[in-house]
């Protein structure tokens, strides 16, 4: 276990160093843009996963949190407020907003599906309302656009992504995180062991909303122009769910793998088949939900187990024994 942990840490360190050095290697801006997209999607999928994966509360309206994050950050940033403040508020606003559905839905011990369709409705309310109140395109401040710098954006969003992953890791490995999983597996049993299901679900929702809003803040700082209500639109709800499931729901590395895979596959498919890629993603999502609920992480585990079994069999089976049993000897 410790050896495995050591390898994971080493891989993580190498990954971070590579990501830190990449901009120094004179790579094209389009690669940096692709990486930034992966970072933002990683934040989205990771934040969704805290509530959807670890706590078992399916949120089909994550766009509400992402959108509120973009809105808050963009408003403050274009008004000349400092970026750290804008990002902080981008997290706080959706976290507070999430209590609107969280407190009543979880307190009444509504069944999970009520929470789910409630989130769907809330995100749709915001999408329509923001479209009505702010039916225009938002631009970064003139100074930012005339002298658009991708490097600081790359590093800041990378830092936010590492913070998001670190926060998710710290949460799920803590006592609280175990409580979340207990609530997911069996709420009544968890309560009987003294886990306050209401508080745990609420906490997971608040953290999920905060980090989803932070992803929105990153997007607002990065994207030069977009319609105000674009970040509230249904795809921003669907994609985090899709990425978390494709990667592996309820694990830390799953959503990261899912986001990287998602962005790469999307780039490739858009070139190959254009708009048909959305159909392919929908089919892929359904297939994962039905046949591989653990996503790519589970697929890899299965393959690894088969390999381990093969190699073990090879080690333990002596040539003589193999001959007697009709197995291929080594």
């Amino acid at each position: 276990m410790t050896a495995k942990k050591g390898i994971s840490l080493a891989l993580l360190a190498v990954g971070v160093v590579v990501l830190l050095l990449i901009p120094r290697l004179g790579v094209s801006d389009s690669l940096l843009n692709l990486l930034i997209l992966m970072f933002i999607y990683t934040m989205l999928a990771t934040s969704w996963n805290i509530l959807g994966g670890y706590t078992g509360q399916i949120n089909l309206g994550h766009a509400a949190f992402f959108g509120l994050g973009t809105l808050a950050a963009r408003m403050l940033y274009t008004a000349g407020r400092p970026l750290p403040l804008a990002l902080l508020v981008a997290g706080i606003v959706p976290a507070v907003f999430s209590m609107l559905i969280g407190v009543p839905a979880f307190r009444l011990r509504l069944r999970g599906d009520y929470f789910t369709i409630g989130t769907l409705a809330l995100s749709q309310i915001l999408y329509i309302t923001v479209g009505n109140v702010l039916p225009k395109i938002t631009y970064l401040p003139m100074a930012d656009i005339q002298n658009y710098q991708i490097l600081p954006r790359y590093y800041i969003i990378l830092a936010l992504t590492l913070f998001t992953i670190g926060a998710a890791y710290a949460l799920v490995k803590s006592r609280l995180g175990l409580g979340l999983v207990a609530v997911r597996e069996n709420e009544d049993a968890a309560e009987s062991l003294g886990v306050n299901a209401f508080a745990h679900k609420l906490l997971a929702l608040a953290v999920s909303a905060f980090l989803g809003g932070l992803a929105g803040g990153a997007y607002a700082y990065y994207q030069a122009s977009y319609y105000f209500n674009y970040t509230f639109s249904p795809p921003w709800s669907l994609e985090p769910v899709n990425m978390a499931f494709i990667g592996g729901v309820g694990t830390i590395h799953g959503p990261i793998i899912g986001a990287v895979f998602f962005v790469l596959l999307k780039e490739w498919l858009v070139l190959k088949v254009g708009e048909y890629h959305l159909i392919i993603f929908g089919v892929l999502f359904i297939l994962v939900v039905l046949f591989l609920p653990g996503g790519l992480v589970e697929a890899w585990e299965r393959i690894r187990r088969v390999i381990v079994r093969r190699t073990r069999a090879k080690v333990t089976v002596s040539p003589a024994c193999a001959r007697d049993n009709g197995l291929p000897g080594n």
Binding site: A105, G118, E275, L290
Partner: protein, 294 residues
């Protein structure tokens, strides 16, 4: 604000509300019996609308006469969708079944929406038979014939469904399965066949509703989520398993939306329903007319 205007908005609300009721009753039937919460119901309704659109534009079939055909098309689609996807969830415990079906429906909605985008483009499509513009005018209130006919047809469907569930042997088997599938199994009911039948009945009703939407209003690829939400709002208001409640829920939603359009702003027509939905979920989760759930 003139009385005519109020009466007009009330009438429009009732006319569209009947369609909300019809859209919701299919979803309600499927959920009540199978515990599959199919959030791609709106996309199935959309396919019903496009089927009639094709029948009308390519073959000149009158939309009302084409209702059985569009229902038949949705029976086939329903069969495929059920056998390929939802039947795999049918043996899961209820909580898992609802959760997984939400996810599958979400994915299926995305697929169907984009298939529609490829087949029929992003344009708004409507069906315009020769009598499309004609309307009945009573005391200054304008009632388009196609929408009045749609109201009547929706009502006929709901009554027929009620009679089917109350009077026929198959209908009783469906109700028995919805109440307690284990007891139903012990009584010799093949619950898996009942699940299949209910699902397909639900998609057929979506097909009929889609046709009425296409002829009275219009269809477009992104309408799915919109109609799913309408159906869910009505479902939550009306409570599950009550056809009369569903109809009343649909009418209330339609009228409330019209009232909001008149007194607040047309832009917020669809927000009002969603807000009511959240409030009902929070205050009275068993529905305004539903019995307390066990």
């Amino acid at each position: 604000m003139s009385t005519t205007m109020v009466a007009q908005s009330l009438a429009s609300g009732i006319l569209v509300g009947a369609l909300y009721g019809l859209a919701a009753v299919g979803l309600s039937l499927v959920f009540g019996v199978t515990k599959i919460l199919n959030v791609s119901h709106g996309e199935l309704l959309m396919l019903g609308g496009y089927t009639s659109f094709w029948l009308f534009t390519l073959m000149g079939v009158d939309p009302f006469a084409g209702i059985p055909l569009s229902m038949f098309a949705l029976v086939i689609i329903g069969l495929i969708v059920y056998q390929l996807l939802f039947s795999r969830l049918i043996k899961l415990p209820t909580e898992d079944k609802i959760r997984t079906s939400l996810l599958v429906g979400f994915g299926l909605g995305l697929v169907l929406q984009n298939v529609a985008l490829r087949l029929w483009t992003a344009d708004n499509r409507g069906i315009t038979p020769s009598y499309a513009g004609a309307a009945l005018t009573i005391l200054g209130v304008r009632l388009p014939y196609v929408r009045v006919a749609s109201l009547v047809i929706a009502f006929v469907f709901l009554v027929a469904l009620q009679l089917f569930l109350q009077k026929t042997y198959t209908g009783k088997a469906i109700r028995a399965t919805a109440q307690d599938w284990e007891a139903a199994t012990l009584m010799g009911i093949n619950v898996y066949r009942v699940y299949l039948l209910s699902f397909v009945l639900g998609t057929a009703l979506a097909g009929a509703a889609g046709t009425l939407v296409a002829v009275g209003y219009s269809v477009e690829p992104v309408m799915g989520l919109h109609w799913t939400l309408k159906a869910l709002i009505v479902l939550v208001m009306g409570g599950i398993g009550s056809i009369a409640g569903t109809l009343v829920g649909g009418l209330i939603l339609g009228v409330t939306e019209s009232a909001a359009a008149v007194w607040i702003s047309g832009n917020y027509r669809h927000v009002v329903g969603l807000v009511i939905f959240i409030l009902v979920l929070l205050v009275r989760p068993q529905g305004l007319f539903g019995a307390k759930e066990g």
